[in-house]
Symmetry: C2
Subunit: 694 residues, 2 copies
């Protein structure tokens, strides 16, 4: 008891990665797995395994109550290791206990289930693709200019009905050429090749060269519409500053300065305290950034917040484009693909960083440096009222706390930012940027399935559909979920004689299930604690969210695309908490033929969720029909989901934010020195009410 | 010709106000209107009158083409003066020409049409209400504590079917008491009186004391449910800092510093240039802030942008609450109610201000000081891509330009901010803050029609519905409007064998009309110039907007509430431009019984709008069912409408924004000095890719 245990939510350490892989190595050896050979043991992912809630929550409650660490309940330190052998044909999940030094659980993928694409496969497949004689021959037939460098973007295979392709693990490559200047950062997406090699990971060989259709509207599903120089009309379109004309010179610097430092404090490496909020930052290979144990002024609010999955189905019907459907978390990993953020480039102001640990294929720790950043941001006017009688304004500016990460999944970037606000809101802002996925189109043609964004370049229509997992613990673990609609009351003399009334109709989730957004009914999702009443209104304390009324998954009912992403069929899912229920799209998404053990299955257990430990899953996103402005690199497309207090507090929680004052804020009045321009007025205290006669 | 004329969009000057009112005074005298008496001539509003587009647009095009001012076409300088006499029973609109010094048009309100509520009426009615013996008697019956100060919030009457109340002009007062400490800024809304005096403006007297219902759910439409001390249970709930405990002390300052000044320039008082954008700022009594002649890199984009109207209907069926339905622009005026912004309080950073002119009842100019502010703001990551092969990131931060105004309409505040972005977006951000309108509720009761937000205080449910008027001139004045839906293609072997495809179905507006949001079809509104094709995609150049799928007006079909606000029955209206078509809710909204000559009527003219001078009107807003957190002052509720380029440009227009670099941005790495905390890592250039075997 004298040795202090790490906090159960402390990020995994290098030492723990090493210890865990040692345990797994010995387990694997005992199971007869080869070590050190190309088809032998390979570590895919090693991360902290969420402790059982039944043990962790009491620990967190004790911590919040001020109980010293040594007296808090025991929480096991568990590590999840995903490893493979026989060239990915066997994928194993081991849960090891660092307390006992043993494996405490093990499961294998079933036939047809595949692990994520990892960096080893990305690297190996790229080599194989480009060295393969079939590929070399196929490229030669494209009559590209001599010296053209072809590059291979490895993609997960997606899914299709095709017997052994259902069970072997594949990589499909999308091939691109560099622009003729051959700068290593030249935008290859302006030169998409009309062929896609298929690489069998089990067999370690290219098994097929798939032709890609390049026709236009008039060509239907036809292939072979291209000339013998199918890419001759492609042109460079660069984004890298080395390859662009000089940048604009009229943008003046803007600095965010906090002369007394930021208002947040970080303790125990990953515990953040700021403006009555306190939470822990997590990081793992799959979800990337996670947020835990969110409390406001000591009151429990959210147990866990994360983006649980995302899927990006493409809408071009011509095979094999229907197999473009990445599950960027399950197939690749938001942690594995997280950017190392750079001071002053990615982040502006006074910045703190969090780093995590990933691993290499030998199970050695690899630092994920600065993968999450933390900083404050001015949020504009937080609240204001001017008493028109006295003309006295009262105004508090909003100060927001941003916790942000950026991931690069091949061509695309996604930025996820949690925003904590003084008004009690917790918001997730998602930005999509990076480069559109492109395909070749014959010269002069257009397509219904996308937009021509550069000569010869079709950017196909696609969707981005995310799942936000919200595990509330509003004033306690047992919560309920309602949806509330504003419904007009019919005219009647007895009740609504002027026709202006509406009711808020509240429907509880009694059992797990789903509901869709209904913006025309002003549908709101309310997460509440029915045993805790707001002392003012009498309503149960709660938090609300408005489901983003995005277009849900477009693919047809019987399509594999839809079956794989049942989470994207509805906007809001409500499930009964169970340890391990983390993956909206299922655990093994790569090459899945349907969503297995995802949120659909969690909900289908039909468990009681009224006044229980519940989890809410929100599907949000957008249908992206590209525009020319999205190329060569897409301006950030922003989407925000807000969790807002609803009778959780007994008044505006930002009331005690200090008034916004010039002595503190030190704004500067701009006056134009040019003699031809008028003098800027302003800055004084006079107000402008019309003088009225005495 | 030697004397230079003001730019046609130059803000009205003090001198012009004076000249215009002199012209009107002489016209009025000739018409036999008394001058200088209480029931004689009174000036309500004097503002610049939009010049005819047929004259203004050629002027602006000439200016943009570099034609010197003296050689540009003539544009008349017209002033609109709204004046009244016979105690508002006659309201007149005069358009005067400052070129000829004469009135060029005059119209009067029809019987039953009323002008806005102005400051004279606000002031006079407050006095009358509180001095009236009937009112004094009714207040006495409430048995308020001795010394209680009662205050009167003047409200427009709204509308009801009641013969002479259809034609006389009224003010209804909502009465509130100050908290017992009697601080002049004490929050009166915590002490709502259950009586509402009705003041006849024509007769200059209180004609009725309306009882307000104070019952709860069990009381239906009943009145007289209160005790003889109906407000005894009310309690103070303050927002003014003088009346609150000390503010939190852990918020550290955050400064936005632009050491080289801002990137914008202002010329000719109100012409703003910034990052290839150029536009003119307007201000008038009714719309408040307006934006004109928006061009990007010399290309015409928007002729005029403004919030055209808003309505706030309340949902409590108990008379007279159905008459709470403010049209804050038409009934009061966003310019008339604009705050004088204060450096470092309302605005953070390097700020420029615009001032305008309003007028007093004698037609003298009154400065509207600092009613609009302008400043830059960091917008987070504008675009980013990291080439996974080279690990080289390219990243540009977004810098936004904010043009903002704040209005106070009685209890509520609204903040409107235009946001110009380097990616070509123009966005309107609307915030609602200030204080909920409140009504008394008996102790211990709750109501279906709102939420109890303080003891004895019901905050009734209501809606905020706005109309955004967008007059595009995308590469020219003749544009078209389409709505585009993403529709799944049915499965078929010939066309969609994998079920993953969708089409974008584009429907043009051939004639003026409306359409609603359809978020589940990903409905997008496209404003395009069909005669100008994007050289890359071949699509017509355009701008798109996603209609906010807000809940439209809830009041029943036959209700006066709905009839007054037809604009709020649909999300998107498309009309043929006509000078003077500015008012979504009609010109004379105050006490209207139905929307007359509003956007419904503009659209009902059934004019051809394909490839014509069109105007798009967007209805947006929210149903507001208050929460306890909204009291005593509401945290800003934010709503954003985005106008985004759609094949307007030939690539991402922000590509030449300089790369985000630490040398320029000067961010600071936070490291915690506390010995118990871990050292923060980070700030270096190392990246975190898994080391792979050679």
């Amino acid at each position: 008891m004298a040795i202090s245990r790490p906090h159960p939510l402390q990020l995994i350490s290098a030492d723990e990665v090493t210890k865990a892989s040692a345990i797994v190595r010995s387990i694997a050896e005992k199971q007869g797995v080869a070590i050190g050979t190309k088809s032998g043991l390979r570590f895919k992912n090693i991360s902290l395994h969420d402790p059982p809630k039944a043990l962790l929550l009491p620990y967190l409650d004790a911590e919040a109550a001020g109980v010293p660490a040594a007296d808090r309940p025991f929480v096991p330190r568990l590590i999840l290791a995903i490893w493979s052998y026989d060239r990915e044909s066997r994928v194993v999940e081991s849960v090891v206990s660092l307390d006992s030094g043993t494996e405490v659980a093990q499961s294998q993928t079933a036939k047809g289930q595949h692990g994520s694409i990892d960096r080893v496969e990305v690297r190996d497949s790229q080599q194989r693709m480009l060295e393969d004689p079939l590929v070399i021959e196929a490229i030669a037939k494209l009559n590209l200019p001599p010296g053209t460098i072809v590059q291979s973007d490895p993609w997960m295979y997606g899914a299709d009905r095709n017997s052994n392709k259902d069970t072997h693990k594949f990589m499909q490559a999308l091939l691109y050429a560099r622009a003729p200047d051959n700068h290593p950062d030249s935008n290859q997406y302006a030169f998409p090749l009309p062929i896609s090699p298929l690489y069998d990971i089990f067999e370690d060989k290219v098994v097929e060269i798939t032709k890609l259709a390049t026709g236009g509207q008039e060509d239907g599903l036809a292939y072979d519409t291209a000339s013998d120089k199918p890419m001759a009309h492609c042109q460079a379109n660069e984004y890298h500053p080395d390859l662009l004309p000089p940048a604009r010179t009229d943008l003046k610097p803007l600095h965010v300065i906090q002369p007394e430092g930021p208002s947040f404090t970080i303790t125990e490496e990953n515990c953040v305290s700021w403006q009555k909020w306190r939470f822990r930052v997590g990081f793992n290979y799959r979800e990337g950034m996670t947020v835990h144990d969110v409390r406001y002024d000591g009151r429990p609010v959210f147990y866990r917040l994360s983006v649980s999955e995302m899927t990006v189905p493409y809408g071009d019907p011509r095979s094999p484009f229907h197999r473009k459907q990445a599950f960027d978390l399950g197939d690749a990993g938001a942690g594995s693909t997280a950017n190392c953020l750079s001071l002053g480039c990615d982040c502006l102001g006074s910045i703190a960083y969090f780093s995590g640990y990933l691993n290499d294929e030998e199970g050695a720790p690899v630092k994920a440096e600065n993968v999450i950043c933390l900083h404050e941001q001015d949020g504009g006017v937080g609240w204001k009222h001017t008493n028109f009688r006295t003309r006295n304004p009262s105004i508090a500016r909003a100060r927001n706390l941003i916790l942000q990460t950026i991931i690069t999944v091949g061509n695309y970037e996604y930025i996820f930012a949690w925003c904590f606000m003084q008004n009690g809101n917790v918001e997730l802002e998602t930005r999509a940027t990076g480069i559109l996925s492109t395909a070749l189109i014959d010269p002069g043609k257009t397509s219904e399935w996308g937009n021509v964004v550069n000569p010869g370049v079709l950017a196909p229509n696609h969707q981005h559909l995310f799942s936000l997992r919200v595990d509330p613990m509003l004033d306690g673990a047992r919560n309920s979920v309602f949806y509330e609609d504003s419904i007009a009351v019919p005219y009647s003399e007895e009740e609504n004689p002027h026709g202006n009334a509406w009711r808020v109709v509240k429907t509880p989730f009694e059992t797990s299930g789903f509901v869709d957004a209904d913006p025309f009914a002003n549908r709101v999702i309310k997460m509440v604690n029915e045993t805790k009443r707001n002392p003012i209104s009498g309503n149960p304390v709660g938090y609300k969210l408005v489901p983003q009324p995005c277009q849900l998954i477009l693919a047809g009912e019987n399509s594999v695309v839809r079956k794989r992403a049942k989470f994207a069929e509805h906007h809001v899912w409500v499930t009964k908490y169970r340890d391990g229920d983390l993956w909206a799209g299922g655990k093994w998404t790569n090459q899945s033929l349907s969503e297995v053990d995802g949120v659909f299955d969690y909900a289908a257990r039909n468990e009681k969720v009224r006044n229980e430990d519940v989890v809410v899953w929100l599907t949000f996103g957008m249908t992206h029909n590209p525009r020319v402005e999205d190329f060569p690199v897409m301006p950030s497309e922003i989407s925000t989901i807000s969790l807002k207090p609803a009778d959780f507090f007994d008044r505006n929680p930002a009331l005690d934010v200090p008034q916004s004052r010039q002595e503190v804020n030190k704004s500067v009045l701009v006056s134009d020195p040019l003699p031809t321009a008028s003098k800027m007025v302003g800055g004084g205290d006079e107000c402008c009410d019309v003088k009225s006669k005495p």
